[in-house]
Amino acid sequence: MAIQSILFFGYLGDLLGRSRDFDVSDDPVTVRDMRRLLASAGDDVAAAVLNPCVRACVDGMIVRDDAPVRRGQEIAFIPPLSGG
């Protein structure tokens, strides 16, 4: 069991907290695995992280679902950008 902090932005930050710790039992290999593991934390989290409009970031870069993730990397989920 390991604790993974996840960052949320925009409306997701309001819903789930700006930064939230999750127990992640398995070692996720890809962003897709991470979404699946986080989704077990509750319906509200599942609705956010399984939403295909919600993109994942690893170490501050927007990545695809097949991107690799390793322990210690910064993981964030972001809604569609609003623009400036």
Binding site: F9, G10, G60, A76, I78, P80, L81, G83, G84
Partner: protein, 158 residues
């Protein structure tokens, strides 16, 4: 040639931005600048009490830098600056200052137009309008997306 990007949680002073830009671009023949200001009315038509620009430090700056670099690659401009607010902006306060300098005016106008169309859809912000009915996260309008698409067409902007 230079691309400058600044993101600030504090007030934006367009007059000071323009003064600084004019110094940097001394010798260029054409300088265009644009100032975007928080509208006093929300999308719901109510008086706006505040506009909050949430950002992801690092990612947001990279989106701004990418947009500035694209403008420099697409148009014969010498210098480009984007100064953008983040955090809580009061109604009628400046949100963004954009400057483009070129040897000739057409490129400067096009680059400034392009920068704003890209910023309105692709800048890494999440905007929340606060009005009497509550707080509402907003996304780019259809109009914003149409403006953005203009630059995907052949002979973009002409």
């Amino acid at each position: 040639m230079g691309c400058t990007v600044r993101l600030s949680p504090g007030p934006l002073a367009p007059d000071a931005e323009l003064r600084d830009f004019l110094q940097i671009v001394a010798g260029k023949g054409a300088i265009v600048n644009f100032v975007g200001v928080a509208r006093p009315v929300s999308q719901a038509g109510l008086p706006l009490t505040g506009l909050y620009l949430d950002h992801y430090p690092g990612l947001t700056e990279r989106t701004l830098a990418g947009i500035a670099a694209s403008a420099c690659a697409l148009f014969p401009v010498e210098d480009v600056v984007i100064a953008h607010r983040c955090g809580l902006v009061e109604p009628e306060q400046p949100i963004v200052f954009v400057g483009a300098a070129a040897m000739h005016r057409r490129a400067a106008f096009l680059a400034a137009d392009y920068l704003m169309d890209r910023l309105k859809t692709d800048a890494g912000f999440w905007k929340r309008e606060d009005d009497a009915s509550g707080s509402h996260w907003i996304e780019p309008t259809g109009h914003d997306r149409q403006d953005r698409e203009r630059w995907s067409q052949p002979h973009a902007g002409n």
